[in-house]
């Protein structure tokens, strides 16, 4: 079974639904029509652009180009991780922590899946590597930013407790351990929820996409299961890396709590 290809006319018909939203906004004075128009235009431009970028990279079929694109994606994700928490490190530490943990988790899980489960020929074939890295990146980004937010928020709240332990001669590692644990927990919650809800509350995106593209539902389900496992591993790795890197950045060689390194 071949996928049903869309023509520009098909899409224009769907675009009339945006006009409906805009009309609604004008009629009910929601003052959202400008935003709707801008968002819809952005969406179309961004997606068409990435479509061309992907087509170009696929045609190059060059591992260096694939790697470069994935690195750019990791960098954009790291910026998100850095920007979301309420509390931040001075300087670029947020960005560095985001880049290292998101990049590490994405590369480890993607490479594992490409070399052991999906096994395209060659394993770094951009058709597989880029979309897979993209999906993992989105999830891993979420875990990393939740963990960082949790850690930086609690460390200031728990300052007196941490310093009381340090004063009594406990190591920094012991004193900070409950906060690191909580941060990792926070980073893992979304994927647990996602796994529990999969198939009942939501039909996950990949599976839906593959069914629409003509794949047998059970084959699509297999892909989705593989993906969920990858995402849970990726979330765990990024939550772990983020929390430990942030904890490490907040101390020094004399095991002090260096809150002066926060904004």
């Amino acid at each position: 079974m071949n996928p049903i290809l869309l023509t520009p006319l098909d899409i224009s018909i769907a675009a009339s639904l945006i006009i409906l939203d805009a009309a609604l906004s004008i009629w009910l004075k929601l003052r959202l029509h400008r935003q709707i128009a801008i968002a819809a235009t952005r969406m179309v431009v961004q997606l068409v652009a990435i479509g061309y970028v992907l087509r170009f990279i696929f045609s190059l079929n060059n591992p260096a180009a694939t790697l470069l694109l994935i690195l750019v994606m990791v960098l954009v994700a790291a910026r998100e991780v850095a920007a979301r928490p309420e509390r931040r490190f001075k300087g670029h530490s947020n960005l560095v922590i985001g880049f290292v943990s998101v990049g590490f988790a994405t590369f480890v899980t993607s490479i594992l899946a490409l070399t052991t489960a999906i096994r395209p020929q060659p394993w770094f074939d951009p058709h597989y590597a880029i979309p897979l890295a993209g999906i993992i990146l989105g999830n891993v980004l979420n875990s990393a930013s939740l963990s960082l937010d949790s850690f930086l928020g609690s460390v200031r709240r728990e300052r007196h407790a941490i310093e009381a332990r340090l004063s009594l001669g406990e190591s920094y590692r012991e004193s900070i351990a409950p906060l690191v644990r909580e941060a990792i927990r926070r980073g893992l919650l979304p994927i647990i929820n996602q796994m529990s809800a999969a198939g009942i509350v939501t039909l996950p995106g990949i599976m839906t996409g593959q069914i629409l593209a003509g794949l047998d539902p059970l084959e699509a389900v297999k892909y989705q299961i593989l993906l969920m496992f990858l995402l849970s591993g990726g979330s765990g790795l990024s939550a772990l890396a983020t929390s430990y890197l942030a904890a490490w950045r907040l101390t020094d060689e004399r095991q002090r709590l260096r809150l002066d390194r926060l904004e």
Binding site: R159, S167, R254
Partner: protein
């Protein structure tokens, strides 16, 4: 007098340089306005805040030992007590319960409070429990930041009696207090902190 705690050119971005020579079993009391750097001075000695300079304890320089080891020797008790578990008793080693209870009683804390949740304690009760926690391992140097700040007169007397008893058995105390009378009562040496500098009184 042999120095138990010797502080040489201790400074940070915000305060110092400080010099101090505290004998075994002696007490140095520091008074001064809020924000003058009294707490910072104690925290720098405990190596909780970044600082430069040398601090010796009984002839050993602090950088010769790991920071946690040092803080077990020179234990800082903050003016605002910190708690990391829900119940009071969880902050004490299991096998030291009776010793903790004995110290708590001496500071006028009711027996049942040891099994109470932290959230039920008053500020003054928390302050005294944090002192019990620090006194329990008998560190040779105590760095006390307003240990009787939130206490009533009766409890202040109990705390001071216990501290004097510890001094008599060789514990050296560096005390920050806003009460000049307390400085008079406990301090063998008295200093006044003004804008990050310490003057001898």
């Amino acid at each position: 007098m042999e120095a138990a705690l010797l502080v040489k050119e201790l400074r940070s971005k915000f305060a110092g340089p400080f010099e101090l020579n505290l004998g075994t079993g002696a007490c140095a009391a520091v008074t001064g306005p809020s924000g003058s750097g009294k707490s910072l001075f104690l925290r720098m000695i405990a190596d909780l805040d970044p600082n430069e300079g040398q601090v010796w304890l009984n002839g050993r320089e602090r950088t010769s030992m790991p920071a946690p080891e040092w803080r077990k020797q020179a234990t800082y008790v903050s003016a605002e007590s910190g708690w990391w578990a829900d119940m009071v008793i969880e902050h004490f080693a299991l096998n030291r319960r009776s010793e903790a209870a004995a110290l708590a009683t001496r500071l006028g804390l009711r027996d049942d409070l040891l099994d109470a949740p932290i959230a039920q304690l008053s500020t003054g009760e928390k302050q005294r429990f944090s002192l019990v926690r620090a006194l329990l391992p008998s560190p040779p140097v105590l760095l006390l930041d307003e240990p009787t700040g939130p206490l009533d007169q009766e409890s202040v007397a109990l705390v001071e009696a216990l501290l004097q008893e510890r001094m008599a058995t060789g514990t050296s105390i560096l005390l920050v207090t806003h009460d000049p009378n307390q400085a008079q009562r406990l301090g063998d040496q008295r200093y006044r902190m003004v804008a990050g500098h310490m003057e001898t009184l």
